[in-house]
């Protein structure tokens, strides 16, 4: 058996091991590769940066724990930025399986930044209906969420002072891992009730959202762990995403090399078979 044949029949567990090591070693011994900021991530940052103190920032955490590695760092970075700018944060989720995680994220960042529940931020929780929730919020926020996640009546909360519907939101960001997510927020929210919005998503979803970005339907997009790392760099608070970027680069490099080697061995084998 030739080298090419042996390599093409290699035990897949060896490839798993290579990928595992390429991920693990940079996490244990980071080198700090530079992170270039993309215009789409900067657009979200710039918009939040330009918002005056007390503006209403709606953050919809439309994901569950299975997408935590990508969207959790995005949520943490966005919340840190919003709290630093003293924006009024209205958080919610359209995913019932993500309510506990979303509450944990908001409470953790609020604790770190010294923000007060119901005064500086509120977590509305989840309401049934998927996209219909967005339409209902556009008509009346208080009938959609009569109480917040902790059961307190939303009517009269200081953080929601002057906020009656989505028309009173200054900027919205949906961190989506699927449907309902960024697209639903654009279609049933921004397009109908005319507020500015940006998006954050998993890497798998990012290519599908670029058409919305180019046409100006969303003003910015944070894509995957890479986008989260860029946002962390922008706010000057390096966290989980930046720490993972070395590992991401190393695994990508390993995959590129493996793809090239596979092609090389495939063509070498084909040439040999044609010759014989």
């Amino acid at each position: 058996m030739s080298l090419a044949e042996r390599m093409l029949k290699i035990d897949r567990r060896i490839i798993f091991l290579i990928i595992g090591l390429c991920t693990l070693l940079p996490l244990l011994y980071p080198v700090g590769l530079p992170i270039k900021i993309s215009p789409e991530v900067r657009a979200v940052y710039d918009y939040i940066e330009s918002m005056p103190e007390g503006s209403v920032f709606l953050l919809s955490l439309d994901f569950d724990p299975s997408s935590k590695p990508e969207l959790y760092p995005q949520a943490v970075a966005l919340l840190h930025h919003a709290f630093r700018k003293n924006l009024r944060v209205v958080a919610m989720t359209l995913w019932v399986s993500g309510t506990g995680l979303a509450d944990q994220i908001i409470a953790q960042v609020a604790r770190e930044t010294g923000k007060e529940d119901t005064k500086d931020y509120v977590f509305l929780g989840w309401s049934p209906g998927g996209t219909a929730v967005i339409i209902n919020m556009g008509q009346n926020l208080y009938t959609t969420f009569p109480t917040d996640y902790h059961g307190r009546p939303t009517k009269g909360l200081p953080v929601l002072d002057g906020v009656n519907s989505l028309r009173d939101v200054d900027y919205a960001v949906s961190l989506g891992a699927g449907n309902p997510g960024v697209e639903a927020w654009y279609v049933f929210g921004k397009d109908k009730y005319k507020f500015e919005m940006g998006g954050g998503c998993t890497g798998v979803m990012a290519p599908g959202l670029y058409p919305l970005l180019r046409s100006g339907q969303i003003n910015g997009l944070i894509g995957g762990l890479r986008g989260a790392a860029e946002y962390e760099s922008l706010i000057g608070r390096k966290g989980q995403a930046v720490a993972g970027m070395d590992a991401q680069s190393a695994t990508h490099m390993a995959i590129i090399v493996l793809v090239m080697l596979c092609n090389l061995f495939y063509f070498a084998l084909r040439r040999k078979q044609q010759a014989s």
């Binding site: 590695p69 990508e70 654009y186 397009d191 180019r214 995957g224 762990l225 990508h252």
Partner: protein, 250 residues
């Protein structure tokens, strides 16, 4: 460190390692973690839905605030359950008709506006921009999404891909060239999507490994190390047991 955090760390580490053990081969530890994941997520969803919908959005407003109008959606929703009683199952059609009608009515105009009209508008942008003092300007900047050259690329891409999926005309002669161009654009799109998918999957691996590294800390009782030893040991034992067992009689 709170007891809940320590227990959480041990459970998370154990389940992660059990799931990862599938990379070696299918085994009972992986099955245990897989079934737990499905069970816990379904259980969580049922409990949250019951608490939010039945208790907070239906029971409390009706009983405490006397919002009787809520009985109308409750009645329509209850009609769905009629499917389980063959004699009155036809009643459920009213509930489905209501949902389909409202859903389609809400979705169709918004989807056409957002995904067709806005995207068509973006595809047929003007090739030149009118700049005061300079007149009509064509921009060659590939990095600027709104540049003239990118508008041409998008126009060629959209038309050639649409032509590729137009099967009423045989793809020969000039048509073949257009269809081939469409394939090139499709391949680039698939490549970009696959690249992003790889990035996303690696991000998930990074997330789990980051947690495993964190849980190797002494403050948690080093669950990563102990449970890794346990998992490897269990895999070795299972592997030996499989080898020593005689093949089943046929």
């Amino acid at each position: 460190m709170s007891v809940e955090s320590i227990i959480g760390a041990w459970v998370a580490t154990g389940l992660t390692l059990f799931i990862f053990s599938f990379l070696y081969r299918d085994n009972p530890l992986f099955k245990l973690a897989e079934h737990l994941y499905v069970g816990v997520s379904v259980g969580y969803t049922i409990v949250k839905t019951y608490d939010t919908v039945l208790v907070h959005l239906i029971w409390k407003p009706i009983v405490e605030n006397h919002e009787w109008t809520l009985l109308i959606p409750v009645f329509i929703g209850m009609l769905m359950l009629a499917r389980y009683v063959p004699k009155v199952s036809w009643l459920s059609r009213y509930a489905f008709a209501f949902i389909v009608g409202v859903g389609a009515g809400l979705a169709i105009p918004r989807t056409i506006s957002s995904f067709i009209l806005k995207q068509v508008e973006d595809t047929v942008r003007p090739l030149v921009a009118l700049v005061p003092g300079e007149g009509a300007v064509f921009t060659w900047d590939l990095l600027n999404p709104a540049s003239g050259v990118n508008t041409i690329i998008i126009l060629i891409g959209v038309t050639s891909v649409l032509f590729y999926f137009f099967f009423s005309v045989e793809h020969t002669g000039p048509g073949k060239a257009v269809a081939r161009t469409g394939i090139f654009f499709l391949m680039i799109a698939f490549g970009a999507a696959f690249g992003y998918t790889v990035m996303a999957r690696m991000s998930l691996l990074i997330g789990r490994l980051t947690d495993l590294i964190g849980y190797a800390d002494g403050s948690y009782g080093r669950p990563t190390l102990w449970l890794l030893l346990l998992t490897v040991g269990a895999l070795v034992l299972l592997s030996r047991r499989v080898k020593s067992e005689p093949p089943p009689e046929r």
